[in-house]
Symmetry: C2
Amino acid sequence: MSPPSGSPIATRACTVARHMAGSPVPCSTCAARQFSICAPVPESELTEFFAMSARIRVEARRHLFNEGDPAQHVFNITAGTVCLSKALADGRRQITGFLSEGDFIGLAHGDSCAYGAEALTPVEACRFPRERFEQYMAKHPDVERRLLQIASTELAAAQDQMLLLGRKTASERLASFLLRLSDRAVARGEPANLVALPMTRSEIGDYLGLTLETVSRTMTQLRKAGAIDLDNVNMVRIVSQDSLRRLAGTV
Amino acid sequence: MSPPSGSPIATRACTVARHMAGSPVPCSTCAARQFSICAPVPESELTEFFAMSARIRVEARRHLFNEGDPAQHVFNITAGTVCLSKALADGRRQITGFLSEGDFIGLAHGDSCAYGAEALTPVEACRFPRERFEQYMAKHPDVERRLLQIASTELAAAQDQMLLLGRKTASERLASFLLRLSDRAVARGEPANLVALPMTRSEIGDYLGLTLETVSRTMTQLRKAGAIDLDNVNMVRIVSQDSLRRLAGTV
DNA sequence: ATGACGCTTTGACATGAATCATGGCGCCGA
DNA sequence: TCGGCGCCATGATTCATGTCAAAGCGTCAT
């Protein structure tokens, strides 16, 4: 299934699918659209909007781009999970967000990417040339307004995360994290008490400012406290939303 | 000078100055304007723009608004320093930013304020009713674009801060902090090596995810390492930008 | 079926920063 | 000029989390 690793010729980090001219624009049936930057694009404009972008597929563990790369594209994720991260010279890294279906990537860049983006699972996305996307926005204030709204929401989330990283204990961090994932699941019409973890303990650690060992121990702690159960390592069942909320402090 | 504290009637957290009709709009001579949200407002519109806002003065230690208040206004700071913060139920708090001349307050709010804002020094600001400001933006995409740019910059800064809070040591945090203040001073045409600290050690701690004691000790450490000198508790002289950068890791 | 590999869990120990406690310094008002 | 108060510096000690190490478990390719 996966290509022979290490061969730069045979390996494709990202494949581009072409759209058949004449067939209806896939946007009209895109499940991610309602959550996405493209939500305010009217039906009449969809063809033009769609034509700006390429559909890409990225394998798990591949990077969409690296921190410091020239910022050439913006993305709208239609399937899979991506993490954004920043690193220090010695390898310590901070994951600044886990993104999935409907999420936009491309805010906060200047000329170069302020963070790297890596697929944690196989990912599908719409990729837009940054410049064309900006030109489109300049002509369509609705979309620009939507992006401002997205940026504003991101900023609020970033501030919550600062509170978490600066002032919360390990169990508060993990409890907050699980509750956020749960809220997110609810927003997508999934059950609140069953939380999938597409990322490893190490990645959770890099997001919460902890080590993977502390994440693991804390997970056990929450389990022993009766707040959660582990169906398997990647599937958390929230047993008591209340105790989890109490443990989390807030958010 | 300061009003008798504790009396809700005699005390004014914020005073509103009225503008004389007919006199030229103060915006044209406002030193903060070039850095501000109002930079793209054309001369011809300044009167209208100005008329939307009230000039306010806030004493040191007073709050512009509290976390959870209904979000009624947005602000543009014209003088002084403000800190934004979020708190946990038990009083732990995280300062998410120090703002000054030219900075905009009002991003990231929903119906209620996502954070509190407190004046660290006497502050002057332009205060706009949130709704009117949004209406103005809807009619003036330039201003909306500028706000998106501001939000984007804020987001990048927030991500830097997440890296700092999640992964940096105490001395890396403090070194990064001092370098940022220095960069900021440079952007305003002030000398790079002389950094004013309008906030207390405790506030620095609440910003860097440390205690005031650790901030104090670390300041001593940086001094003994020959990276900085303290003219007095509120004035840091950067002796060696290089060693400070080495200590900081990045940013 | 089996072995290998990657991820997770758990244990033992180390350590950076927090906490608790004390004294010093500087500023402001009487 | 003096006293008081808030902020800061520093020391002693504790503690949460990091680090190092080893073993368990699941998955996947052979």
